[in-house]
Amino acid sequence: MTDRNIFSVFVISLMGAMLFGSFNYYETAAFGFPFTVALIVLVMGILLLLYDISALRKKKVAVGEAPKTSNQGAEKSPDVSGESRKKWLEVARIYSFLAGFLVISYFTSYLIAVPVFLFLLTYWYCRERLLPSALVAVVTSGLVYLIFAYILHLR
């Protein structure tokens, strides 16, 4: 299973759930627009997934490798285990910083969350030097205060 296929499965599941949900108002609302669109995207998604899987198998057979069964693939597939897995781990790391930003904003204020987030992301994640990281955090926080708190009166 490649990361592309995982995304296709996500789209199929989402459309399946929306298709199922559309039965609640299929008769009464909007002449079944959600039903029709969800059904079309669901079928297209399934066809796309099948095409991608068959293309991947052909590619593996072509290079002299036996096609893997689905329960073997997830761990050893080159797409997930190599560069791709690293990339998604990086995305997850960035999102953990962003989740932290939301938590601090929710429980304290964005005026606290902004400098903390900026400093930690540039210094810790991006591995920039201490002084430039602190400078970016301070200058941007000042700018954010000016625009959002002072001009737009955002609380």
């Binding site: 609302a29 909007a30 002449f31 962003l98 540039t122 959002f148 737009l152």
Partner: protein, 493 residues
Amino acid sequence: MYDHILPALIIIFSWPGIAYLIAGTLVGMIFGILPGLGGAQVLALLLPLTFFLDHNYAIIVLIGAASAVPTAGSVAGILLNTPGTSQSVATTFDGYPLAQQGKAGYAIGAAATSSLFGALVGAMVLILILPLARPIVLAFSYPEYFMVSMMGLCLIALLGEGHIWKGIMSAGIGLMLAFVGSDPIEGLIRYGMGSDYLYDGIKLVPVMIGMFAISEALKLLLDKKSVAGERIEFGMKGVWQGAAAVFEHRGVFLRGSIVGTMIGIIPGVGGAVANLVAYGQAKATAKDSDSFGKGDIRGVIAPESANNAKDGGALVPTLIFGIPGSLDMAILIGALTTFGLTPGPRLIIDSPEIIMVLIGTLVCGNVIAGVLMLFCAPTLARITAVKSTFIAPIILVLALLGSYAADGHFGDMIVALIFGLVGYCFQAFGFSRVALIIALVLGGLIEKNFYQNFLVFGLEGFVNRPIALGLLVATVLMLVYPLMRSKFRGNKR
């Protein structure tokens, strides 16, 4: 229609209109110069900040920024061989070789001048076409609006970024997202999941911010490199000769501008295609085409005039039918909607002054960006030396706070984050972000017009009204033609 030109100019040039125009243009230029960031990102980030302004000033800020992006995008392309936006790709083919020959000033002068005058040509075509809009608009009713919306959506899915199949799927996903919330006919809540937040549907602003600003910031962070990568020593030598070269090669300039305007009119095609087609056209029609790719100034003039002229063209379907001609226009439609202005046919009839403010800003923004480029290109080019590891976190903060500022709702930040990831996946797996956003914009319109047509004309309204039938046939042909063509080619082989 033309009576409103002078009042519109007064709004733009009186205080604080002029300040907003200059500020918007400068922000647009910065985003244009930075590779990876473009019109969609600057509009998505600026949009929440304009909610507190009068709608005229908001339009001035947004259009001023969007109009400056393609002009500034050529700077990084010429100096670094890294186009600031996808709309400046073809400019690098001859712009960078010119810079390598020590003629960067010459290339930038030509790029700025052809951008400036290209935008004027696009705006002129738009102004000439607009009076024809009223009879077209009056001939349209629910079935025609439904069909034209469907046609726009199909065109965007077919011609936009990524594969056609995935383009259609992206548009479908966008439509499904548009169906979330209260249904326009009976007020029934769909896909609400018991959450008050979803009662009004999925909001456009956080989705746009996520899809374009957050996903691009993610990409920049993952790249973790300096935008420029090398130090640029650049002088202003030859800038004015470059400007003069545009007049010398006025045929190339005019053809590029016309190609750009025409491509802009087709919804969903965008500046990148205009830029490349104009370059190809200039090369194909040149008698001495061997010099192209080695530093021929015509290879800078043609694409640069096209990518600015396309903005005027893109405003034609946007203003006449409410069908966004490009991604920037889709975001603009979202912005107008948040100001209570319904883009499309009624806007031309009810508020022509807003249309004129929009066109006036497009022209003035391009003039300011062009002049600034001629005088300040070396200074502006230094922005590219800033590391993406400093730019991306700032974009993330501004994007999240911007989505929160729109309604003061914490849930908007979560939606923006979710769609940031969706946008990143869409890019990574070849789906079309443009099709999703435009479907989200048009979804309600399509559903409402379909229902109203059903009540007033019945289903036969789609076939017994000539314009609706013509649009239906054109839509079906558009969808079938690519499949037929590939099948025909397959049989031939």
